[in-house]
Symmetry: C2
């Protein structure tokens, strides 16, 4: 682990990341000592910092530190956490901010290959996501909703949970974004009120725009997901998981999702 560029294991207990969850993070796939889709991740980091009025570190600085971190272990999952640093007690951000940068590397979870191949079961979470226009889409450190939703099931055969908003509209997975195919159209929930807009989702939206794939980003009722021809969830670590079971509905084949996964692989 690197903390502000130096090997370390601990941070100040007065860090605002701990005091208030005042910061953002990225979870990224490391492959052959490089972050997969780094330019997307850095752009998203800039956007998220901007939403929190937080200065974003220079890309070159982060790249150098990631190289250093990857020296002994070239593959895995890198988590980059950026907080508003140490400050006096009180919610108001201090006048002079010295952000804390944390980079940690862990092994890729073992279950990944089977779920890509066979598809996954989704648990329908009871918890409803709250709407906050200032934070919607941002991957910030206030993740108690995700924690409480993930605590709703503990069957290791269930890969992911499905989150809805207060009105029952589908928002995404607990740690992923959701798409479905419906009559030739690719559908994904609008995340302007809640949820996290991930980098893999962004890549799929860009692919759809460039390839001419009909696309709708809008409110998505659960019934429409259950009526879809295919459903998948995605994130930057596991890629795409076809959904084979959700709320009593089963899907058996995933040809469009497989084709999309191949198309994404071929992109730079």
């Amino acid at each position: 682990m690197l903390i502000n560029g130096l090997p370390g294991e601990s941070i100040s207990a007065a860090d605002r990341g701990l005091m208030y969850g005042d910061g953002v993070f990225r979870t990224m796939r490391l492959l052959d000592r490089r972050i997969v889709h780094w330019s997307h991740h850095y752009r998203k980091l800039q956007q998220d910092c901007s939403a929190l009025l937080l200065p974003c570190p220079d890309a070159r600085l982060l790249e150098t530190e990631i190289e250093q971190l990857a020296w002994e272990q070239p593959d895995g999952v890198v988590r980059l956490t950026l907080t508003r640093g140490i400050g006096p007690r009180g919610y108001a951000p201090p006048a002079a901010v010295h952000p804390t940068r944390l980079l940690s590397l862990s092994p890729l979870p073992a279950s990944n290959a089977a779920w890509v191949e066979q598809g996954v079961r989704l648990y329908l979470c009871e918890l409803r996501m709250s709407a906050q226009l200032r934070l919607a889409g941002v991957k910030h450190l206030n993740r108690l909703e995700n924690v409480l939703a993930a605590a709703e099931w503990n069957d290791p055969a269930i890969a992911e949970g499905l989150l809805r908003d207060e009105a029952g509209r589908v928002i995404g997975g607990v740690r992923s974004n959701l798409f479905c195919w419906h009559g030739g159209v690719l559908l994904t929930p609008d995340l302007s009120r809640c949820g996290v807009a991930g980098v893999q989702r962004q890549r799929i939206l860009e692919w759809a725009l460039h390839s001419g794939q009909p696309l709708e980003v809008r409110e998505l009722p659960l019934d429409e997901v259950l009526a879809a021809e295919e459903v998948f969830v995605c994130n930057s670590v596991f890629g795409l998981w076809p959904v084979r079971e959700l709320a009593g509905r089963s899907w058996l084949a995933f040809p469009r999702t497989r084709a999309l996964a191949a198309a994404l692989e071929a992109l730079p």
Copy 2:
């Protein structure tokens, strides 16, 4: 500062308090080496832990540690933070939880006496609080809404900001609860959808019930606050601050708020 009972300054960077804001906290007044209204604070800590499915430490353990912390400095503000401890990457709480306990002591802010005497100006925040039934009322570590609201003004003459929900209803102060007096009735917002239900608020509700003071805990439109005879904000550190200015409206005298403050002083 004490961390799990030992003097220390730092916590593990893998602590879920930092990773996800997965924990709760209390901000308490220390006076003559004792926490003011400790039994209320401990009861609230138990409730908040329960909302987060977090084991609550024994009261006697916390009392012993607070005595130790107060040895050299008998007065000030104590912050108790409790997190779900260190865990592997991933939102789901680990099967075996070893919570992290942090206790820190800081001096009482200097501005306090003047604001109690003269009343305070409230800034009307633009940010709207989101509704989350599972977290409403709980003083958890996901405080980005408070941080962004507190960043909206930086005039040191403005003591506090006023928070509203998406529908424009008044929820409270950024770091306090709000009450107003209207035709002999004491009014305070219902916090079952958002906000933090503080210990000072709880004491006032108990006082009203025991003294026969007419009380309404319900949805509170801004117009009704502006039409009130008196308004005040409260928390465990500063006590009660009468409001003398909000959104163009001024208040000049605070007889009922003064009487309430005196009545609360007299309570055990």
